[in-house]
């Protein structure tokens, strides 16, 4: 079993036009900057992939990562809970011009829908959003005298995530709050690729410490000193 991928270019090579892509991270923590930028570089060279649906808690910040993906016109649709950031201009302009569609999902519902996608649960009920605009058109059912909204699972064609350690079996650990959505997204995508800061040998991750078991991961690519989105933005970085 060897899920190692040699290059970032290879790691993102299979994503076609129109694909749905879950991208890990909450703001800058956990954002797989190098994988996203490799996808942009591929687009700049080949014109593909475009018309992507991107699933992330946010909708980009500044001019790197998801914001840069949007800026290149690669994204047709965002699914997120909080499309605001310190510098949300790239998304805001595309959204207001109608170029990007937005599905706004409460954060806990977004997390649970992704988990459900990975766990084979096609639908579940939550109290979240009951009686609000975000529940419009969704079935409501009462349990034990309280109303709940039915939500559907959320799956994707690909997940691009960032992890701390990875081994050839695809087992992953994360770094602090960079964990966030990534373990869920790994389970809910048909193909999951992780950029890992430390590629280690099989057996070097304690089985007790594995956060994402390798069964959920299809490829790992080492990015030894990953860029941090927040630091890039504080430095005013652009990609490309």
């Amino acid at each position: 079993m060897d899920k190692r991928i040699a290059t970032l270019a290879e790691a993102v090579s299979g994503i076609p036009d129109g694909a749905s892509v879950m991208i890990g991270g909450f703001g800058g923590s956990g954002a797989p900057i190098e994988l996203i930028h490799a996808l942009i570089d591929r687009f700049l060279e080949t014109g593909s992939p475009k018309a992507l649906t991107v699933i992330n808690n946010n909708a980009g910040n500044g001019h790197v990562g998801i914001a840069a993906l949007i800026e290149q016109g690669m994204v047709a649709r965002m699914v997120c809970s909080f499309p605001r950031s310190a510098d949300p201009r790239v998304f805001t302009e595309r959204y207001q011009s109608g170029e990007i569609e937005l599905e706004l999902v409460p954060q806990g519902t977004l997390a649970e829908r992704i988990r459900a996608g990975g766990a084979g649960i096609p639908a579940f009920y939550t109290p979240t959003s009951y009686g609000t605009d975000l529940a419009k058109g969704k079935p409501v059912e009462e349990f034990d005298g309280r109303p709940y909204v039915q939500e559907r699972w959320l799956k994707a064609d690909f997940a691009l995530i960032k992890a701390e350690k990875g081994d050839p079996y695809g087992n992953l650990t994360y770094r602090m709050a960079a964990r966030n959505f990534s373990p869920l997204m790994a389970t809910a995508a048909a193909r999951t690729v992780a950029q890992v800061s430390h590629l280690v040998a099989a057996g070097d991750i304690d089985p007790e410490a594995v956060v994402t078991p390798g069964i959920f991961v299809d490829g790992v690519v080492e990015v030894a000193d990953p860029q941090q989105e927040e630091e890039l933005n504080r430095a005013g970085a652009h990609h490309p």
Binding site: F26, G27, G28, S29, G30, N57, S81, F82, P83, R84, S85, A86, P88, F91, T92, Y95, Q96, L102, L104, V105, P106, Q107, G108, T109, L110, A111, E112, I114, R115, T126, P127, T128, S129, Y130, G131, T132, D133, L134, Y174, R175, M176, A177, A178, R179, N180, F181, S182, P183, L184, V211, Q228, E229, E230, E231
Partner: protein, 223 residues
């Protein structure tokens, strides 16, 4: 112009009602101030949606680790006994009723406990974050807010006119003028600034203020 509490003073007042040992989520922005005013003899454990329990103060500038942030994307530090977890576990804590209290900001609070705090209407980019989960998850949902808007309009109302965050979820409101419980669809005044008459307070409130026994003086330290 009526004397009113500063945001720091409202946050201080809300902090006094957090019990020792409580698990607490503070909304982004103004509510984050509450953590700074916990009584010294009490320990609360703070939860942030993005997967940290038991975080502490913000680090000094230059000491930030941007993989260690709160839901407002501010850098934080850890306290002993902290834990990391993923987003589904984080919202299991929220939705599953494990938080003792969530303290949130508000655009409007209705006497029914309805809260509007995520959208000011169809203009702009909508963003909801974790607020809709928190209002139906925490055992107690409190709001801290100015009593009126910048334009002097009541924020405590009979029924919210702005898009709702949740229905019947708020049970306590700490404002710049008063401390108000929401009981059975009514605002029940518990404390008010000593220099403010009941009638003056009522005139700045968009729904009937009820009383149930004494109304205490709302007194807070200079901050």
């Amino acid at each position: 112009m009526t004397e009113k509490l500063s945001n720091a003073q409202i946050a201080w007042r809300a902090a006094q009602d957090i019990k020792d040992g409580a698990y607490v989520n503070l909304g982004i922005g103004f509510p984050e101030m509450v953590a700074g005013y916990m009584p010294e003899d009490r320990e609360a454990v703070f939860h942030t949606e993005n997967g940290v329990l038991g975080f502490g103060r913000n680090p000094a500038p230059g000491d930030e680790d941007w993989d260690l942030i709160n839901a407002g994307k501010k850098a934080i530090t850890l306290r002993p006994g902290a834990a990391f977890f993923h987003h589904a576990d984080s919202f299991a804590m929220v939705r599953g009723g494990h938080l003792d209290v969530a303290i949130l900001g508000a655009y409007q609070v209705a006497q029914t406990g309805d809260l509007a705090n995520w959208s000011t209407g169809p203009k702009g980019v909508p963003a909801v974050g974790g607020a809709m989960d928190l209002v139906h998850g925490a055992k107690r949902v409190a709001v801290i807010t100015d009593h009126v808007t910048k334009h002097g309009e009541p924020k405590l109302v009979e029924a919210c006119t702005l898009p709702l965050t949740g229905v019947g979820c708020v049970t306590k409101v700490y404002t710049s003028f008063a401390v108000i419980d929401i009981v059975d669809g009514h605002f029940v005044l518990r404390e008010k600034l000593p220099g403010l008459s009941f009638d003056d307070l009522q005139s700045q409130t968009g729904a009937t203020l009820h009383t149930d026994g004494d109304v205490a003086d709302l007194t807070v330290p200079e901050l």
